[in-house]
C-alpha cells in the first residue's frame, strides 16, 4: 500500500506524530502525501482520529459519573465506553431492528 515507496519516518518525527494523534492533538508537521503512505494514513492516523476522540469523550463521561454518583466507587467500564462511543456517537451505527431503545432487558 506504500505505492509511493516512501521511506520510514525519522524517529523524532514518528514519535511526535504517534503521541500527537494518540492524544487527539493531530499536529501535522509533515506534508501528508509525501511523508505518510496510504496504509499508514488509513490504518494508523485515521483510526486514531476515531480512537483518540473516543478516549477524550470516555474520560469526560467518567468524570461526570464521578460527580453524579454517590455510594459507589464504580465509574463504568472504559472498554465498553470506548466501543459504544465509536459505534454509537462517532460512527453512528444501528443494525436493522437493533436499536438500543428497542432492545429487551437481559
Amino acid at each position: 500500500m506504500n505505492v509511493a515507496w516512501l521511506p520510514a519516518v525519522d524517529p523524532a518525527g514518528a514519535w511526535n506524530t504517534a503521541v500527537s494523534f494518540t492524544t487527539n492533538t493531530n499536529w501535522q508537521w509533515y506534508s501528508g502525501e509525501s511523508t505518510m503512505g496510504h496504509l499508514v494514513q488509513m490504518a494508523g492516523l485515521a483510526v486514531q482520529n476515531f480512537a483518540s476522540a473516543a478516549i477524550g469523550i470516555a474520560v469526560a463521561v467518567a468524570l461526570v459519573r464521578g460527580f453524579a454518583r454517590g455510594q459507589t466507587g464504580q465509574l463504568g467500564n472504559f472498554w465498553v465506553d470506548l466501543v459504544r462511543i465509536v459505534v454509537r456517537a462517532i460512527f453512528p451505527y444501528e443494525g436493522p431492528g437493533d436499536t438500543d431503545a428497542a432492545l429487551p432487558a437481559t
Binding site: M1, V9, A18, G37, F78, W79, G95, T106
Partner: protein
C-alpha cells in the same frame, strides 16, 4: 439555538442510553461481538484506578503501535 432547542431532548435521551452502565445498559449485536473479541464483560464496572489504568494502557499501546507503523512503513 433552534437546532439545540429541537435536538436536546432526543439527543439527551440517546446520550443517556449510550452512557448508562451496569444492569440497565443494553448492548447492540455488533457491540456484543466486539466485547467477545476483546474479552470484556460488558456489564462489569471499574473503579477510578482501573478505569485510569485502562485509559493509559490503551493510549500507551496506541502510541507504540503508531510509532512502529511509521518507522516501518517502508517495509509494509
Amino acid at each position: 439555538m433552534v437546532a439545540l432547542a429541537v435536538a436536546y431532548r432526543p439527543l439527551g435521551d440517546y446520550m443517556y442510553r449510550m452512557y448508562r452502565v451496569g444492569s440497565s445498559a443494553r448492548h447492540l449485536r455488533a457491540e456484543r461481538v466486539m466485547y467477545r473479541v476483546i474479552g470484556v464483560n460488558p456489564d462489569g464496572q471499574q473503579s477510578w484506578v482501573v478505569y485510569a489504568r485502562s485509559v493509559l494502557a490503551f493510549s500507551a499501546v496506541s502510541i507504540l503501535f503508531l510509532y512502529a507503523f511509521l518507522r516501518l512503513q517502508n517495509h509494509l
